[in-house]
Symmetry: C2
Subunit: 449 residues, 2 copies
Amino acid sequence: MCSSLRVAICGAGPSGLSQLHAFESARQAGNKIPEIVCCEKQNDLGGQWNYTWRTGLDESGEPVHSSMYHNLWTNLLKECSELVDYTFDKHFDQSITSFPSRSVLCDYIRGYAEQNNIRQYIHFNTIIRWISYSEEKKRFCVLNQDLQKDVTQCEEFDYVIIATGHFSTPSTPYIDGIETFLGRLLHSHDFRFAHDFRDKTVLLIGNGFSGEDIALQLFKYGSKSILISYRTKPKDYQWPKQIKEVPLVIKIDKEIIYFKDNSSEKVDAIIYCTGYSYYFPFLDDNLRLKTKNCVYPLDLYKTIFWLNQPRLLYLGMQRSTFGFNIGNIQAWYARDVILGKIFLPSTKQQMEFDIQQWRIKAKTIKNYLDDIYFRRDYIRDLLNITTYPRFNLDQMAEILIDSVKSRIENILTYRDKTYTSVLTNTMAKQHHTLWINEMDDTLQNFLNK
Amino acid sequence: MCSSLRVAICGAGPSGLSQLHAFESARQAGNKIPEIVCCEKQNDLGGQWNYTWRTGLDESGEPVHSSMYHNLWTNLLKECSELVDYTFDKHFDQSITSFPSRSVLCDYIRGYAEQNNIRQYIHFNTIIRWISYSEEKKRFCVLNQDLQKDVTQCEEFDYVIIATGHFSTPSTPYIDGIETFLGRLLHSHDFRFAHDFRDKTVLLIGNGFSGEDIALQLFKYGSKSILISYRTKPKDYQWPKQIKEVPLVIKIDKEIIYFKDNSSEKVDAIIYCTGYSYYFPFLDDNLRLKTKNCVYPLDLYKTIFWLNQPRLLYLGMQRSTFGFNIGNIQAWYARDVILGKIFLPSTKQQMEFDIQQWRIKAKTIKNYLDDIYFRRDYIRDLLNITTYPRFNLDQMAEILIDSVKSRIENILTYRDKTYTSVLTNTMAKQHHTLWINEMDDTLQNFLNK
């Protein structure tokens, strides 16, 4: 591998950090690594986990990246996010609960980044304006701008790794009459605190993960009534009486919402929980991934390598349920391909065929069990072609399934359940307070030494 | 003038429309005009006047352009926005009040655009991604993207005219403790309706035009208490008892706001009325205007021509009080320079000297009278070097001064006063309902035939 290779990593969220970590580990193990430049538009690392009070546009005038709300707790047990090369025990030096708050997981992912001093590779407050590929030079031209110095430069790279996530650009479909709504109107991307919705009737549009979890937040912080509008079918959890699932919204007239079943309700606020678009406004047409949120996007070999130009890589682009793990294993694989230790198939057709096989398999997914097994099999596929450290993937899938079952059984208590780490065998410590009663989401309160 | 010249206009708001109108008028008068391409990222023309219910990011994932709220009425008498070549009489065919609502002025500016069929030049849903200047080709490279077709193209132009405005990128300074605030928090850019603030205590940060007018909106729609925090000094209008001016905010702790005079207040909501940044993320470093909102920006000859490359033009970049007029006269001037009918000074030094003279003069502005006269003199300067149709500029300045006096005398009634058109001598018709009582802002209600 030529050590004069240059690699650009776009974004210093979990996937970008995994990529930096993968390269730095290789370097520390005595390998020559390419020159790495990571551009991060925020002023700190963590991506989505880098919570901000801001909404809309950030202090630089760029779209706010993080969609997290202040009192978010993970809905995925931490044992599925736990990294082989950086366990929770290693980071916290104590056992903590299986479903901690945002600040706990943010601390973990930052610790993972700090342990290897990978900040050195990151250019903060630096946004990518445009990436194109020069057939002539056989390199990528990356136009990036230092938002603080207000200076733009064009740099050439041999590889570009896109790790900018897909939970930052809200998808907000028009609804007949939405422009007449007089109450508070926002997308979940801009939701920060539930407190202001106390004693209010709130309509959530969409019953996916955002809708489900914001409903719980609103319930916990005292909303009077929470209506979750579903498109296809209700979740039918054992909701508390304040939460009700309602059909599709057909029309809005000032404060009155009309539903598909001809019922109507007066509401104080509407929160769009309609998810996010994959949006890469900085990528040239022939490099830009165009996909919806799915388990196996088109045009990405192993969901990583851009079919038409495999020196363009994407990390973390599929719908994920194994937390930080998928990005970490992908980054390991990506690194070894770039270092020349693993070879991609020699023809585009071979890669296309592989993608097709996975997408055919994806079509057979009928329920959450299939869904989890699909992802497990995807991870196993990556493990089989890499030297990534082995771990008990089957057991990880099983505890994930157990936690999903618990959520379905009781949406209000599933976060109180604890699990045993697949990696360290440490049993998670029960948090001292039930989720429903815990109003202190600080790191200190979760460590509580 | 070579008819193969190509001119790019960025933005189809009032200034961009004025530029299109100027060229199209010349064409209809028998002149050869360059090839014109206007890129507008929104799906309709009108710029700021193209109201949207959306906040944050638009349906394409791009920052929402318009900062207008639903029930906005102009705070500038329409007689100062009236265009010589398209009077209000001509558009409405009846006399209307001097301070109409947003929808009335939007209708006017759209009528101005439609009369000459200038839509043909506009590429809607088309965003400029990057503009650079090639010294080699002596042309601008404009990278633009059709957001609907999702196709990017790079086009070359001889002239580029920036008409993207400077009221779209909110400036939201950090305040100690703002991240702990539990109530509703937004920038005026995202304010749409006052109804949701009924019976609430609302803090407005900043007593500029946004703060002043949103305070009035909140009062009109029933907020319990409105606090306007000023940085330097209060406006000291005869505010109704629900509105109070308060000193600078020093610290925020959950719902409690601490002020510079050691007082504190509990509030339900905070609206940043802290203005906007000039933001041109699509312009290369050597083309990018860097200025604050002021009456005569640096580096722009006649506030239009970019000093280092006068084939790059900016319209409407100074703080304006003559509404649509300034952009219209600038566009006329810009057109005639591009058509080769007017010549710029032959040296950069001459242009620099001119800018300096104006900026020295700008420093002598002490009050609103000086301010208005400065702008009047600026317009006169443009009139003197162009063939723009003459009108009674002094009289226009005088009625503007009268209206500002009225506002200072009574902030609640100044919009009920009517003025005589400088252009048509038509006396504005008194609106049938006082501003404070009028809850119907529709065009129909203002025409009320």
